[in-house]
Amino acid sequence: MRNRYNEKHTERNIVNSCADPHASLASENAALDLYSTQYLARRILICSLVLVFIALLSFMLGRYFAWPPEVWQAVKEHITDFVAHLQNPDAISVISDLKLDAALFNIRLPRIIVVLLVGMALSVAGASYQGMFKNPLVSPDLLGASAGASFGACLAMLLNLEIIWIQLFAFAGGMAAVFFVMLINKAVRADAILGLILGGILVGTLFSSGTSIIKLVADADDKLPAITFWLMGSFASITVKDMLMVLPAMVLGFILLLAQRWNLNVLSFGEEEARSLGINTNATRTIVIFAATLLTACSVAVAGIIGWIGLVVPHLTRAIVGPNYKVLLPTTMLVGAGFLLIVDNVSRLLFSVEIPIGLLTSILGVPFFVFIYRKNMKGW
C-alpha cells in the first residue's frame, strides 16, 4: 500500500477539518444555512391558511347561506347542546335555528371533511406514484385501482345492494385489481416498473370491460342512470357515517405514505441507484402501492371517480415548494384538499342542480394542467 497523501493536500485537510475550530464552525453554519427550509415553511403556512379560509367559506356557502356571526352562533349552540346532552340526555335543546344547525352539522360538515380527505388522498397517492414510477405524468389510478373500484361498485348496484355494500364492493374491487397487477408483475418477471405498468394496463382494461358489461345488462330505467351518475363522482350524498367509515383507512394510508417520503426521493432516481443508497426497494414499493391503493379505493368508494386531482395537484404543489418529497408530500395534501374543496363548492353552488364533481375536475383540470405545464416547462 502506498501513501498517497501529498504534502499540500494533507495541509489543506487539516485546515479544513480539525486544526482550526473557526473554519469548521463556519462551514457548519454554511451547511445549516444551505439546508435551511425557512422559506418553505412560510409557503406551507400560507397554504394552510388558504385551506382554512376555503374551509370556513365552504361552511357558510350553500342554499342556506349563513354569515360568519350566524355560523359562530350556531357552532356555539351546537357545542353547548352537545355538552348538555352528554350530561343529561333529556336536556332541552338550546339550538335556535334548527334548519341551519342541520345544514351545517349534518350536511356541510361531513361533506367538507370527506372532500378534504379525498382531495388529500388522491393528491398524495398521485405524488407518490409519480416518484415511484419516475414519471411526472402518472396518476393514482395507474395500477387499475379506480377501474377495479368502479367495477366493484357497479356490481353491487346491479345486485341491488345497500349503499354500505356498494362502498365495500368498491373498496374490495380496487384492492383486488392492484393485487392482480402485482401477480402479473411477478409472472412476467420483467423490470419491476415495467411489469407493474403493463399489469396496470391489462387489469385496468379487464375491469373497464367488466363495468361496460354491467352497464349493458343493467336496467336502463333506474340502475343504468344510477351507475352512470355514480361513475361521474359526487359528494352530494355524503353522511357522517360515510365519513367515519373511510377515516381510519385513509389516516393509515396517509401515515404510511408520509413515512416513505425520504425513500420516494431516492426511488425517483431509479431502482439501482436506490439500492446502492441502501433502500430496500421491494419493501418500499410494496408499502407505497398498498397505501396509494387504500387511499384511491376509499376515495372511489365514498365519492365515485374523481379524475385529474392526482395528476394536477402534485404538479401545482411542485410549482410552490419544489420537488423534494420531504416537503412536497405533506404540502400536496394541503393543496389537494383546498383544490378539491373549491371545485366541490363550484359544483354545488354554480347551478341549482349539482354538477358531478368528476366532470368538473376534468373540465377544470385540463386547462389548468396546460397552464402549469407551460409555466414549469423545464421540469417539474
Binding site: 500500500m1 502506498r2 454554511a30 444551505l34 425513500n263 441502501g278 433502500i279 423534494n324 421540469g379
Partner: protein, 285 residues
Amino acid sequence: MLQIENMVTGYGKKQVVNGIDFEVKPGEFVCIIGANGCGKTTALKGILGFLPLTSGAVRMNGNDTSRLSNKQRARLFAYIPQLHIPPFPFKVADVVLLGRTPHLTSTVADVTKRDKVVAYEAMKQLSILHLAEREYTELSGGQQQLVLIARALAQEPDLLVMDEPTASLDFGNQQLVLTRLHVLSRAGMAVLMVTHDPDHALFCADRVIVMDGGRIILEGSPSDTITSEIMQRIYSTNVCVANVQLDDGQTRRTCIPLMTTREAPATEYAQTASAVLLGMKGNPS
C-alpha cells in the same frame, strides 16, 4: 480491502462473468477495461449486489457482502451510475444529501446536523458549492456527474464504484470528471471504475484489469496492460499505443486508433506509428 473470489454471475441462467478474482487495496484507483459485452458492467453489478452470485464471493475487509443488507452495503460501496436525467428538478444540495440515506437511523426522522455538514463538505471537496442552490436537471452533464460523485462521498464509503461515469459526456466534461476523480484518489479514496476508453485508464488508474469474454485476461500497471497488442486483441481493431512527448517535456502514453489497411499488418504498422510519434516532438538537437 475489496476481494473478489472466483465470482460467477449473470442474468438468470445466462452466465456473463465466468469466475474472476481480483482485489482493490485502500486508496487504489483500479480500472476495468474491455470491449462491449465482455462482462465488465455485469461484474460491477455482482459486486454491488444488484445481481445474485452463482458462485464465488465478494468480500469487503474480510466480510462476505452477500450477507449484508442494502443499507450496510451502502456504507461500504458508493455507486456512481452512468449519467441519466431524473424526472424532477431536485436542488443540487438535496441530491447530495440523499447520499446520507444509509446513515439515517430512520427515514422518517429528519437528517441531523452532521448529515448536512457531511453533504456540505462533500460538495466543497468537489468544488461544486457554487452549484448547491441550482437545479440538478439544468446543469451540464459534467456538473451533474460531479454532483453524483459528491452524493457518493456523502455516503462516506470505503470504495467508489463507477460504471462508465464519463459516458455521454463531451470531451471537456470527461476531462473535468476524470481530473476531480484523480484528485479524490490522491486524497486516499479507493476507486473501482469500469471504462470503455483505455485513455481514461491511462489517465488516472493505478492498476488496470483487462476483461474479455467474462474473464480477466490481464492485470497490472497501465503501461504494462495497455499495449498495442492487448488493445488490438480485446477491441479487434487496429490500435497504436504510443508515448507522446508534450511541449513541457513530459511523456504521456495514449491510444491512437488506426485505419485498418491490408498492406501493413497491424503490429508492424503500429510500431512504425509509435516511432514516428516519439520522433515528432523530439529534441531539437
